[in-house]
Amino acid sequence: MIRHALAEGWLLLRQRGAVSVVLALALAVPISLAGVGLSLHRWLGPVAAMSGQASVVAVLLHPRLDGEQRSNWISEEAKAHPEWVITEISREDLVERLERWFPYLEELVAGGDASLPPLVEIETTEPAGVAVLEGRSEVLAVGPRSSVQQLLGRVARGLAWVLAAMSGVLLTAAVLLASVWVHLELFRHADEISIMRLVGATEPTIRGPFLVAVAIPGAVAGGLSIVGSIVTVAGLSRLSTTLGLPAVTSGFEILALQAGAGLLLPLAAAAITLARHAADEFEG
């Protein structure tokens, strides 16, 4: 039966050689693009993870607070916001930072420790939440609360989702293409299939050649989609490394998914269409 399926399937393919090649190419395009989309989705993963990373917000306390008052304030805020990690920056550290970042404020820094407001840093995953400190009598100023890392991460995460959704849409397009292709092929051979049934052919004997006839172009489509996505990903990788970003890679699991999609989508479409055809015939 396998030999019969292979021989008859090959005959079906030969009769529609050019069409099969075009269909294999047409199926390879959406699968290949889906593979590229998934590779980019994976590549954006570490950047997208930055959206949840903790960032540091600087808070200047009022200079009138003495050491004990500062300690009390820090422990009260730590108790009220257990998700915050509050660190007091030592005077020496603060002076060193100011000298390094703002050399033109030399006079202010040289003016003595008393004129410098105490600085604390709050490490949190929700920097916007530090805004609650604004307006408190102990607080002189709250530093910028927007995190570039988090913003980048959010953008990357959004982009990754868009790419994943796009890959899903492309794979769905591939499924539809495969089922339309198989449906048309079966429609062309409907009479032949009916005759085969009438002379006593079993369902595996009837379906085998059609499954072979779609599996071969499907496998070719899978192979072509792998080549297409490897070439595209290599181009994107060159671009990303030129920009100083990490290289984009395809990954074995994505390539295996492409090969599987190329082979299994037309096979599944053929199996479903043939089963429906058989049911219609039997009822008719």
Partner: protein, 222 residues
């Protein structure tokens, strides 16, 4: 071999067959005749399970067809050789392949299938057309290929729907002699025809179908 009990078939409220009771024993040769539209083809279609009855029972080779599991239908059809009125040949296969294909489906080895196909083609005077595609054949030649295919796998029951419709008198006579030979070897033969010459050339049990009912069941000529 064939048993029908109170068999009826309707198409959109139109009664094609009405309460038919019939028994055909193994090894019988039976003609089924009647005017066009009497239900001959429908009756044959019910016998090879291309149709389901609206009511009643259809038994062929000891199996009740309307209750037969779908998976077993091909096995039953392999016991039946059907000569279709519209030939039902595979258009992309040549004459020889049309016959060997049917034999291969029945599990005959490729070499044996070829031998048997050539033998039956020779008998039907078609061996010189073995590589021709069906579309290149005349109506009569296509009919003979359909006959060759039905006879090649030596079925236990042969159902023939107007098998001489496209044949000249000599070929019709040759076909009848072929069907008689097969019947003599033990196969049951049921031939649907409205060809009176054919009916009169062989005294056999004849069923006359009229308005979906059997009006006469006996030897013909009466």
């Amino acid at each position: 071999m064939i048993r029908l009990r109170n068999l009826s078939k309707d198409y959109e409220r139109r009664k094609i067959l009405r309460g038919i009771d019939l028994q055909v024993d193994a090894g019988e040769f039976v003609f089924l005749t009647g005017p066009s539209g009497a239900g001959k083809t429908t009756l044959l279609r019910l016998l090879y399970a291309a149709e389901s009855p609206s009511a009643g029972e259809v038994w062929v080779a000891g199996r009740r067809l309307d209750e037969l599991p779908r998976a077993q239908l091909p096995l039953l059809r392999r016991k039946i050789g059907v000569i279709f009125q519209d030939f039902k040949l595979l258009r992309r296969k040549n004459v020889l392949e049309n016959i060997t294909f049917a034999l291969r489906i029945h599990g005959v080895a490729p070499r044996e299938a070829q031998r048997r196909a050539l033998q039956v083609l020779k008998r039907l005077g078609l061996h010189h057309r073995q590589t021709a595609l069906p579309d290149a054949l005349s109506g009569g030649e296509q009919q003979r290929v359909a006959i060759a295919r039905a006879l090649a796998y030596q079925p236990r029951l042969i159902l023939a729907d107007e098998p001489t419709g496209n044949l000249d008198a000599d070929l019709a006579s040759e076909l009848l002699s072929l069907l008689c030979d097969i019947n003599y070897q033990g196969a049951t033969v049921l031939v649907a025809t409205h060809d009176h010459a054919l009916l009169e050339s062989l005294p056999a049990r004849t069923l006359v179908l009229h308005h979906g009912q059997i009006h006469y069941d006996g030897m013909w000529p009466p």
